[in-house]
């Protein structure tokens, strides 16, 4: 079986804030159409990794490649325009703008407006609330609806790679289940996904491969078959 073509590659990626290391050299690959999970305790370096991919966190060493092209040293808006979309932790919806305006902000990173109507129709089908409440202020949406809007906003950018930072945060279990199903549908459209999560077991069961990060380094890689293996997971968390 041949390896899937790498959509996103991290090589020895480091992040340091004012000399204090947060990520200590991570190697990680997301193949085309893959869903790769990244789980770990608070402060392990998950969000820092995602922000470093976007060019939004100080990275003294290491490389990030999108289909072989280095993203190192590029500004966040440039990375976004090259096809990497981040759904940030806490959603970062513009609550004073309407739902539709929030969605339109996602167009900013598109390389062309060809096929925009189909993409919007697809996103509306995935997340009907985004269509239904389009003229409401985004701040009036519930947490789950805001999360859907944040993902919808990332998808209309037509990204090659989707980075999700704890999308299940604060959501009810049934909504999380539905959310993960939707991520599967997004992957089926050819979008490669790097999923950062707190809900480790759910992620391990769902993703093609899940890396466990602790203290800024990858400790363990698990597949769906390891979802029940809490002993190894706990050991990695505590390492």
């Amino acid at each position: 079986m041949s390896e899937p073509e790498a959509a996103l590659e991290l090589e020895g990626l480091e992040v340091a804030y004012r000399g204090v290391p947060a990520v200590r050299g991570i190697d990680l690959t997301v193949g085309r159409g893959e869903i790769v999970g990244l789980v770990g305790p608070n402060g392990a370096g998950k969000s820092s990794t995602l922000h470093a991919i976007m060019g939004a966190a100080p990275s003294p060493r290491g490389d990030v490649r999108l289909y072989g092209r280095s993203l190192r040293g590029l500004s966040p808006e440039r990375v976004a325009r090259l096809g990497v979309a981040l759904v940030p932790e806490g959603r970062h919806i513009y609550s004073s703008l309407t739902v539709e305006e929030n969605l339109r902000l996602g167009y900013a990173a598109r390389r062309s407006h060809d096929g925009l109507d189909e993409d919007v129709a697809w996103v509306h089908a995935l997340f009907p609330v985004v269509h239904e409440f389009e003229s409401r202020k985004a701040g009036a949406l519930s947490g789950g609806q805001q999360q859907q809007l944040a993902i919808a906003r990332a998808l209309v950018a037509k990204p090659d790679v989707l980075l999700l930072d704890e999308p299940s945060l604060g959501l009810a279990p049934t909504i999380v289940e539905r959310l993960f199903e939707t991520l599967g549908e997004i992957r089926d459209r050819g979008v490669s996904i790097l999923l950062v999560e707190q809900r480790a077991q759910l992620t391990i069961a769902f993703a093609d491969r899940t890396h466990v990060i602790a203290n800024g380094a990858l400790k363990l890689t698990l597949g769906p078959q390891d979802a029940g293996d809490t002993a190894r997971l706990t050991a990695a968390y505590l390492s």
Binding site: A56, R81, S96, L105, Y107, A108, R153
Partner: protein, 301 residues
Amino acid sequence: MLAAVNWGQAIADAIALGALYGLVAVGIGLVFGVLRLVNFAYGELITAGAYVLAYTYGWPRPISILLCVGAVVALALAQELVAFRPLRRGGATPATMLVATFAVSFLLQAIYLLAFGSRGQIVGTLGRLNSAFTVDGVDIRWILLVTVVTGLVLLGATAAVLERTSVGLHIRAAATDFRTSRLLGVRANRVIMLSFVISGVLAAAVSVLYTVSNPLVQPTMGVPITIFALVGVVVGGMDRLWSAALGGFAVGLVYGLFSDVMSSTSSVYLPAVVYGLVIVVLLLRPAGLFGAWRSAQVERV
């Protein structure tokens, strides 16, 4: 009876001043919204425009005014490109940036002093608009109508750019959450440049309108304009176009009214009265006169 006529006159004059300060407040508020930077060198843009008008006096008016707009926009962009952007790139703190705007302000005043002298130049571009017609015993100068109409048109145009265009949406998003908007692919520098361009156009309009009533151009003429408009922005509420405009208008109106009503001997107390009112307003409504109503809808987790 004399008092009645004075009040009408005072209100008419004050409205014109209010409209001008409203424009300045929006120019300052727009850049503040995107960069969280209070540009104290904004008044020097107005001064530059006034000098262009003074030195092109006698040229065809449209050309003179176009040159004024071009020069002020170019200077606004130069402030950003030469001073503010390199400092931001270097990781300057907000306090450093604020001090930098003071430095730019003083630098420009010094350049004006060296280049154009301290004596002052006279602008006569639209001097004819000082003629008046009388309505019910009140002299209405044409400049009042021109100022109010221009002010409303420019505010409307600015609002239309912000509300109706995609780059306007990007400006609003950047003003709310700069970091996230960059992650979404909003080109930060383009948004910043555009807000400087719009604020430059507004400053040029103020140059043209202000010099009709105050034709003497001096190196420091922009300073009191900036400070009063800033007071207006703070009083109105920094975060919204219309609240900033209304705040600027309110301060201009109050200033205009008091300067007409107070005798010339007591007018030295005028700034003290205005600033005293500002303190009272901020004590009662810290978010600004027109900003406070929003507090209920801001936070929602």
